[in-house]
């Protein structure tokens, strides 16, 4: 009954008004256009978004005229030795200017107490932070992307406490803090994930490695210390460690490198694990030349500097000199 009623509707009821006709054709047309447009724009888009890599700035400053590129000091407190070394290089004021954002990169790769010698002496980090702030730096950031859990490393090593007590702040690596960094001159590190966030707006970068033995690279010092700024699957680099360390030297051009040899981990590195692996040299060195610094440090750890592949490669690339005399090396005893 109902069915026949619907099929036999009076003829004027199946016609629609002009207004309704236009409205409905308009909405159907819009819906079709949106569907078609979406299909057209999304068709065959690349499946992965390609991040634009950044270049890392050069953080070097012109060395002070007539000053050496590397000095070392022995026999005082970390603060005294640091101050003497920096005076000799022309004063920290030559390198740090008021208003600078400064990055300090100690080696805090392991959750290990300072006496095990696997991490940079927190006193050295604290003293350096204090000196930078005294020169008018507005911000000093201490950071590392370590092997162990970052919070554990910064806490157990004592570096976080020392940094914060001296007015610096600690930047912890979050996944969002990494960016692709490119360096076309490099062999393996042409393009790599890098702990970039703290480097935004940074004016100066100071490496503070600790002197350690390493079974693959022979030693781990200033250039290898930049490994702690890399993200990604970085432990593949050990398949060609000497080229990788030289690449790190090409990638990161620091303002200064401070070598902490107050303790030297001369065997069983880079983790240590026993105070008996540690020798107390009480030395701090400062340099603008990364090759000279690593050459000096390698001698302290007990490696044969003439055969270390990454030193030979870094010197060949012109990153610095392995001849300490040429770099004007001096040892100052306090």
């Amino acid at each position: 009954m109902g069915r026949s009623d619907q099929t036999n509707l009076p003829s004027q009821d199946v016609r629609c008004s002009r207004r309704e006709f236009l409205w409905r054709v308009g909405s159907a047309g819009t819906a079709a256009a949106v569907a078609g447009g979406l299909g057209y724009t999304l068709h065959n888009r690349p499946t992965t978004a390609d991040q634009v890599p950044v270049r890392l700035p050069d953080f070097r400053v012109e060395p002070a005229a007539g000053r050496p590129q590397i000095v070392a000091s022995q026999g005082g407190s970390p603060l005294q030795m640091l101050q003497r070394c920096l005076e000799e290089l022309g004063g920290l004021g030559h390198f740090i200017k008021p208003g600078d954002k400064v990055i300090l990169k100690p080696n805090v790769g392991f959750a290990s107490p300072p006496e095990f010698g696997a991490t940079t002496n927190p006193e050295v980090v604290g003293a350096m932070a204090r000196l930078c702030l005294a020169e008018g730096a507005t911000e000093v950031w201490v950071l590392d992307n370590p092997i162990h859990d970052p919070v554990r490393c910064m806490t157990v090593s004592g570096v976080a406490a020392a940094a914060e007590a001296n007015g610096a702040r600690v930047a912890y690596p979050r996944s969002g803090a990494f960016r692709e960094v490119e360096e076309p001159e490099n062999t393996v590190l042409k393009r790599w994930s890098f702990f970039y966030e703290p480097f935004e707006g940074a004016a100066k970068v100071i490496g503070i490695p600790v002197a350690k033995h390493h079974s693959a690279a022979g030693v781990t010092l200033g250039m290898k210390n930049w490994y702690g700024l890399l993200g990604g699957r970085r432990n593949r680099l050990h398949q060609d460690i000497h080229t990788s360390v030289a690449d790190l030297g090409t990638l990161v051009r620091p303002t200064l490198i401070i070598l902490d040899a107050t303790r030297v981990l001369f065997r069983n590195g880079p983790t240590g694990g026993s105070p008996s692996d540690v020798r107390h040299d009480g030395i701090i060195a400062a340099a603008t030349d990364p090759v000279a610094l690593d050459t000096y440090g390698a001698g302290l750890v007990g490696a044969d500097t003439s055969t270390l592949g990454f030193l030979i490669e870094a010197e060949r690339r012109g990153l610095g000199t392995g001849n300490l005399m040429d770099a004007g090396f001096r040892m100052i005893r306090l």
Binding site: F110, A111, S112, P113, I147, H148, D149, V151, R152, T155, V156, R174, S175, G176, H214, S215, A216, R233, N235, R236, H238, Q239, D240, I241, N268, P270, T271, G272, G273, S274, S276, D277
Partner: protein, 500 residues
């Protein structure tokens, strides 16, 4: 202030305290906080571990507080303090029926509620045989475990941090899903878990038999309106002969009674207005006990880690021998929460049926950090014995480190062994001194026929502590080329390897 208002504030406070203490169970925040406080206050975990080990471990003595409160006041723990009870109460309130009559019906006692007593009996009988499964349903363990391995990590995903460090747990979806499922049961019956399943509630229900205070209905004043049922939390029949064992002492009945005929008072006469004992039949009790006892030889006849070590069953440091471990572990997941490397994971069946949700080290996900003993500090029952760093590392006055297992190089996958490519990452990572992985100098030939100088890693099983750092950091990312198995673990007399 009304007593029921005071109760709501108490519930909110203790839930917040619970959530906050669990949030504190993290290396960066733990300081000296008693992060396991609620687990230590739990008399069910205390009783279960007493039955399985005949000792009351360290902080579990605190559970006497709850026992004494219950003997004095009844199941106030359920109504005023239990964080999981509060959560159930809250969800039940959200999904409560709209009509007064329907609410009254939802709060009537059902014979189903005696299930929790039979579960309690079965669980306790298993404990006597050293099989502690109480943690599956114990509300404090269940809530701690679910939050630690699922809900907090999910908050980390949502907030991108905020102190909920991003952690991932195997079968986290299942653990979180069970919690949400239990909470949803409140739609079926309000406080379904507390009334039907909770073995801790059952234990307190039995103890409340002695309580000096209880809800008392004056038969003279009662008009039989049954309004007391509208909000009754425990479904304890306040309108009839009060079921003392079911009453959570929420005191809503006292507020709601139009004739002021209900009071909460000390030592009022029990007869004829109170039924002091749970609704149990002797036959049911025997059946529950026998059912549990039957499971014991069935488990004993199965291959299980207690008598045959499993290679991938690597327990956290300080773990007792497997049989004693299973007797004490209440599966609370506090160790999983506190582990800074995410290595401690809830087992599913890799530790056997009894080992479901007990902690197991998964080195693909984390490793045992050399300078850390946090898991042994938070364990409420001593399934993980508290270790000092000296003992863990084997320094003076201890003569050997705690070993969790032994690392094995897979020479078919290891780069310098199988592919003549340099790599020393495992040796580099090894945290002991002298290193347990040493490098054997070798020469190989690459695909172009050139000689390659190689350093091939070899494990010294006498020095290896099985911490898994080598496995965790091995660059052969999917199936690692160096892997730890449980052999050589200090806690076992049979799963041994090296002649010393």
């Amino acid at each position: 202030m009304r007593l029921t208002r005071t109760r709501t504030i108490s519930q909110a406070f203790f839930l917040a305290l619970f959530l906050w203490l669990l949030f504190r169970a993290d290396f960066g925040r733990i300081e000296n906080y008693a992060v396991s406080l609620f687990l230590e206050l739990d008399p069910l975990s205390a009783l279960a571990t007493i039955l399985s080990s005949w000792t009351l471990y360290a902080g579990m003595i605190l559970s006497l507080i709850v026992v004494l409160i219950t003997i004095l006041l009844g199941r106030v723990f359920c109504g005023w303090f239990c964080p999981f009870g509060t959560l159930n109460e809250f969800v039940g309130w959200l999904v409560r029926p709209g009509k007064r009559q329907a609410r009254m019906e939802s709060n009537r006692y059902r014979s189903l509620f005696s299930l929790k007593y039979y579960l309690l009996i079965a669980f306790l009988v298993l404990c006597v045989f050293g099989i502690t499964q109480i943690g599956l349903l114990d509300p404090i363990s269940l809530l701690t475990r679910s939050l630690a391995t699922s809900i907090y990590p999910a908050l980390g995903v949502v907030t991108g941090g905020w102190g909920f460090a991003h952690r991932t747990f195997q079968t986290g979806w299942l653990l979180g899903g069970i919690l949400l499922g239990v909470l949803l049961l409140n739609k079926l019956i309000p406080r379904f878990f507390c009334r039907v399943l909770c073995p801790l509630g059952a234990l307190l229900g039995v103890l409340s038999r002695f309580s000096l205070f209880h809800v008392y209905r004056s038969v003279d004043k009662c008009s039989d309106c049954e309004y007391c049922l509208i909000k009754c939390h425990g479904a304890a029949d306040p309108h009839l002969s009060l079921r003392k064992s079911e009453c959570f002492v929420c005191l809503e009945c006292r507020e709601l009674c139009p004739t002021k005929g209900i009071s909460f008072r000390a030592v009022p006469p029990e007869k004829p207005v109170v039924s002091p004992l749970p609704d149990l039949s002797r036959r049911g009790i025997i059946q529950a006990g026998v059912a549990a006892a039957v499971a014991v030889p069935l488990l004993g006849a199965s291959v299980r880690p207690v008598n045959r070590p499993e290679p991938l069953l690597i327990r956290p440091p300080g773990s007792l021998p497997e049989d004693k471990f299973l007797g004490r572990c209440v599966k609370c997941g506090e160790c999983m929460k506190v582990c800074p490397t995410n290595a401690i994971q809830p087992a599913l069946f890799e530790a056997g049926l009894e080992g479901v949700w007990t902690p197991v080290m998964v080195y693909r996900l984390g490793y045992c950090e050399y300078n850390c003993t946090l898991c042994t500090e938070v364990c409420p029952t001593g399934a993980l014995r508290e270790l000092s760093l000296q003992e863990k590392q084997g320094r003076e006055p201890f003569d050997a480190p705690v070993k969790l297992g032994t690392a094995f190089v897979d020479r078919t996958r290891c780069l310098p062994w199988a592919m003549n490519r340099p790599c020393i990452v495992c040796e580099e990572m090894c945290p002991v001194s002298p290193k347990a992985i040493y490098l054997e100098a070798a020469e190989g030939v690459d695909s172009d026929g050139r000689t390659v100088v190689l350093q091939r890693p070899v494990v010294d099983p006498a020095r290896c502590i099985g911490c898994g750092l080598c496995e965790n950091k091995c660059p052969v990312f999917d199936q690692r080329a160096i892997r730890v198995s449980s052999v050589g673990e200090s806690r076992s007399d049979t799963n041994v390897l090296v002649l010393e």
